[in-house]
Symmetry: C2
Subunit: 391 residues, 2 copies
């Protein structure tokens, strides 16, 4: 039986000591992104409720919250479990609640977690009211508002909004507020369009809150946000809190939207050159789509970045070099223009380590179980931060 | 601090007791797929070396190997570690070996694992020969052959093939054989094209072996395979072993290729209906792209199956109902033709559980940490089998 055959990599090592592929986090950039959004929330006069689904990592959430457990948004009950165990109590589960998860929510609430849930229709409200009875614990619930026809939610002026709120109240459930997410902001083409979408997001959510208040609901929470709208929104009058997630790392989709610059992207995947197919201008690496995810989010943007942009070991982009294609454990890198006499074998010999900026931080992160933490251009690994995945 | 708040699901439960999304494996179909490929290998007169990258699960690999640890193919050293710890010793790591992984390979070999590695160029061969010296252990190495211009490998008639083999031998490294993978078989349009690709795969690999033998290399292993070619190949003269992976579960990409039928697909993702957007004909579920992966492998096939085909709780496809789009934790289901007066809320009320057949078993599996094992149309969970991910 094998003993001690796994890699002896430690936090004292350099990126060059790692087996690849590996997920690299630039803590300097991540902390700057965290501060940027904290300052945005302060200047807009709202609380910040970071979405921890992107990082699924306690150390990153701590930075996002400014050092102490604060209000957070989660996308799974597993995230709620993990963060509650780490001392977070003000948790908003921002996906409509499946009836089969209500007993689990009740267990968390009884254990002391102020977990809030979300509904957008009468059937879910009925399930929550029923669980309130069965479980004998309040299940504070937000109403999801549809501000952009992107996914789910009720229109602010839909009579069903008041009906669902009454149904909750009549069932003894606290109507905790309203929430919207302008997912369509990912399809905007300019900063002006994002600003307009942010105002649309704000206006719809505030209108819904006012309609509920006119019907006698206190509706204390008015929660909006997406990374694009959060970065560029000018006015959040009537809103109480801002949610955003991917800003903590940023990625190529956000860069393509103009929401960040390449040098704000904090996440990359470390790979090793395995060979060349010189006649096709290919570099083969050991980082395939399993390491990057299958997310090709820039494919529908003005500039398709393939599976990612290639940087050197210090994180500096190599002009024109993209991850063009991928197999499960192989990456194919190529320059975006014919390179003529360029000698790829001399420039990027076998064994060269490179870092790939991802299309989408959420999906790439989910392929890995830990972050190798560096700072700026240094290749020194100052920490290894675990992340969790799944449900 | 929370205690006992996680789900109490046990192996005695039914699918209806699960929190969704969850990965469901039909063991009856999986075992039939395992037997089918075992019988193919026997009738073709070759050994079967299943690729365990699809399932990354000991119980599934055991079925693929016919009950006992047998020869396996891996795509990561983590798989090699896990399977060696479970008693597998004849392991082929079928990705070109990054120089930074050679010390790890040497540790596994010293511990008794007959791990074989792969190279396709002089620089990698030099790194292997160097590690042979440094680590003082043989590192038996296969040469990767390019049979279809799909990815990596040396052409059978490339003089570099003999040069690299000599370089290995001169460095004291055993030249264990040749390997090819006809990745282009995934782009075939008919069974006849797949059969032709299988013959091309066989012929290239056997030709490479003969060229090496003429130069004095024993070249004992001649290894070919991909699921499409393995299913339809007619003749493997000169080949010693067949590799394939995704056949163990099959998926919609394989069905689109004509390599399997829908009722051979053993893997699905269980989701719950959260709501409806009736005017758009949408069902919203709690299984998004995080549960399915971002793999849209059928998008380039004749029939684009979206993020997957929808089945009922017993695993029977619901004609025309597809997972059309996805957010991170939301799925959007819709019928592929306008449904007119169809009442989705009545037919699929909130709380309804459905199962989604995935585009690609490898990528969907990787989003989950365990299989909920059922048998045929039963919803009884007879076991929970862990899977591992990452590197």
């Amino acid at each position: 039986m094998p003993l001690d055959t796994t890699s002896p990599a430690s936090a004292a090592a350099s990126l060059t000591s790692l087996e690849t592929p590996a997920l690299v986090l630039d803590a300097e950039r991540m902390q700057a992104n965290a501060r940027m959004m904290q300052e945005r929330a302060i200047s807009l006069g709202v609380a910040l409720r970071p979405h921890v689904k992107t990082a699924k990592c306690l150390e990153v959430a701590q930075a996002a919250c400014g050092g102490m457990p604060g209000p957070i948004t989660v996308s799974t009950l597993k995230e709620a479990e993990q963060f509650f165990a780490a001392g977070y109590t003000d948790i908003l589960y921002a996906v409509g609640i499946a009836p089969g998860k209500l007993a689990h929510v009740a267990r968390l609430r009884r254990a002391g977690c102020d977990l809030k849930i979300l509904v957008d229709n009468a059937a879910l409200a009925q399930a929550v009211a029923q669980a309130r009875l069965t479980e004998a614990v309040d299940l504070p619930t937000l109403l999801e508002i549809d501000s952009d026809r992107h996914r789910s939610g009720l229109k602010p002026d839909d009579p069903a909004l008041l009906a669902v709120a009454s149904q909750l109240r009549d069932g003894g459930v606290t109507v905790a507020g309203v929430l919207t997410h302008a997912g369509e902001s990912y399809n905007c083409r300019s900063r002006a369009e994002i600003e307009a979408m942010a105002e649309q997001e704000r206006a719809a959510c505030v209108q819904a809150a006012e309609n509920l208040r006119a019907a006698g609901h206190a509706c204390p929470i008015v929660s909006v946000g997406s990374t694009p709208t959060a970065r560029y929104v000018r006015n959040l009058d009537g809103v109480t809190e801002l949610r955003a997630g991917v800003y903590i790392f940023f990625d190529l989709v956000m860069a393509g939207l103009g929401v960040c610059t390449l040098d704000e992207i904090a996440l990359s995947v470390l790979v090793t050159v395995l060979g060349h197919q010189a006649d096709r201008g290919w570099l083969l690496t050991d980082g395939g789509w399993m390491a990057m995810s299958r997310d090709r989010g820039t494919a529908r943007q003005a500039v398709d970045q393939g599976y990612g942009l290639v940087c050197d070991l210090a994180g500096q982009p190599i002009a024109g070099l993209q991850m063009r294609d991928a197999n499960q454990e192989h990456g194919i890198l190529a320059f975006d223009t014919p390179q003529g006499a360029r000698d790829l074998q001399a420039e990027f010999p076998v064994g060269t380590m490179l870092r790939i900026l991802p299309n989408h931080a959420c999906s790439t992160g989910a392929q890995h179980s830990a972050y190798q933490v560096v700072r700026g251009a240094s290749t020194h690994i100052e920490a290894i931060w675990p992340r969790f995945n799944g449900w």
